[in-house]
């Protein structure tokens, strides 16, 4: 006969039932992401044309003649400065991120933007800011898509610059893998395919070019290693070998 203590001991075994960590993180980010989506639908304003914006700005100038409005304008400038400063540490999904994003888009390339979002993902992983996860991944995907297309375009039009961009792409892939390890899950299958396909295209172009050139013994060895890496579809290593060849010239 089993006594009560024995029974409750057996019951305590069921405390081992725990949810998957990945699911816990993603379910939470999904709940808050859906909320942000709803808010955006509720408060979205109709898009104005740039002509409308110019007229609006000019019409605002008429208030400059009235001293009472000068103080308000000053406050706007001061508040604007504070906002810009505060937006620097914001992450996708934060209120001030739109300010930071607008500045970044005006001053950075897509590759730099993708690297920035990768930095944000690192921050999220380190500080467990899961509510920002979904938005950051979305931004990252959009930027990587652009980078992949740009690398393919560069390979066709400016091969000299393409290799440098390709190496940065490889670094991005490595960072992505490191982030995935911390988060314990793959970020996105489509992004992976886009990155791989762009790297493959670049490697093919570079290998074709190198096969027509006169190389040193050291470079030939590196080229062989690069071709083997290409054949086993390890395009990152292949690109690294090509990079080494270009530096060994």
């Amino acid at each position: 006969m089993m006594d009560e203590k024995e029974l409750t001991t057996k019951l305590s075994l069921l405390k081992n039932i725990k949810p998957r960590e990945n699911w816990v993180i993603f379910a939470k980010s999904k709940i808050f992401a859906e909320t942000r989506g709803t808010n955006m639908l509720n408060y979205a304003e109709p898009r104005r044309s740039w002509i409308g914006d110019v007229f609006e700005t000019l019409s605002f100038l008429r208030y400059m003649a009235r001293p009472a409005y000068v103080l308000s304008l000053l406050l706007v400038f001061v508040f604007g400065g504070v906002t810009l400063q505060a937006s620097k540490n914001s992450l996708p999904g934060d209120v001030l991120f739109s300010v930071k994003s607008a500045i970044e888009k005006a001053t950075m390339s897509n590759l730099e933007l993708a690297q920035k979002r990768m930095g944000d993902l690192k921050t999220i992983a380190q500080e467990n800011k899961v509510r920002n996860l979904s938005e950051t991944i979305k931004e990252f995907k959009a930027n990587v898509g652009e980078v992949s297309r740009n690398v393919v375009m560069l390979a066709d039009k400016e091969p000299g610059k393409a290799l440098q961009a390709g190496m940065e792409l490889v670094q991005l892939q490595k960072d992505k893998a490191a982030i995935e390890q911390v988060l314990g899950t793959a970020l996105d299958g489509d992004t992976e395919k886009e990155l791989k396909s762009a790297t493959k295209y670049l490697v093919e172009n570079e290998l074709e070019d190198l096969l027509t050139r006169t190389l040193t013994e050291e470079q030939k060895e590196l080229l062989e290693e690069g071709i083997i890496a290409y054949q086993v579809e390890d395009y990152e290593i292949a690109l690294e070998k090509i990079w080494e060849i270009s530096n060994a010239r």
Binding site: M1, M2, E4, L7, T8, K10, L11, S12, L13, L14, K15, N16, I17, K18, P19, R20, W23, V24, A27, K28, K30, I31, F32, E34, T35, N39, V95, V130, R131
Partner: protein, 177 residues
């Protein structure tokens, strides 16, 4: 303002997600369904929680009791939709301690399987009360708050639930059963 509400709910989520998941898992015996239903519990609760600022009438008095109530409703909806009560516990449950030797691990899994099967076959009220008392380690007054019963009734309920579970477990240990 919204960020504060979200931060508070984020803490609530972290505190209760494992308990709510386990509560649901023990009733549906499927990781996938337990994940879906648990997400639904927190999504619905979040909708009410964030609406509290605008509508004080919908104020949640006891978040723990509220979460379990939503979970029970969602489980009931789930079974109503399927019209079938599943008691199979064939799926293996993830064990966290990986240092245990394989042989011990198998024995632990078998024990877990037996107790889970037995728990799944007793009446729903008894299942809840056992989960809350012995797995979530809630006090009698806390269970009384969730169930809306008196503390005395809860004590009697715990005793009866344990007797029912004991009978089922012993039945499972009897050869040929």
């Amino acid at each position: 303002m919204m960020d504060d509400i979200q931060d508070n709910f984020s803490k609530i989520y972290d505190q209760y997600v494992a308990k709510i998941y386990r509560f649901i898992y023990l009733k549906v015996s499927s990781q996938e369904i337990a994940e879906d239903l648990s997400s639904e519990v927190f999504t619905r609760t979040w909708e009410t929680y964030k609406g509290q600022a605008q509508n004080p009438k919908s104020k949640i008095q006891n978040i723990q009791a509220y979460l379990y109530q939503v979970a029970r409703n969602i489980i009931a909806d789930h079974y109503r939709a399927r019209k079938v009560r599943i008691v199979s516990v064939e799926e293996t449950v993830e064990i966290v301690d990986s240092s245990t030797a394989l042989e011990d691990q198998v024995l632990v899994n078998m024990e877990m399987d037996r107790i889970q099967k037995a728990l799944a076959t007793i009446q729903d009220d008894y299942q809840n009360i056992i989960i809350w008392r012995y797995l979530d380690e809630l006090s009698v007054p806390e269970i009384a708050q969730i169930t809306g019963k008196t503390e005395e009734n809860v004590r009697v309920g715990i005793h009866r639930a344990l007797q029912a579970l004991k009978a089922k477990v012993e039945g499972l240990y009897t050869p040929g059963v």
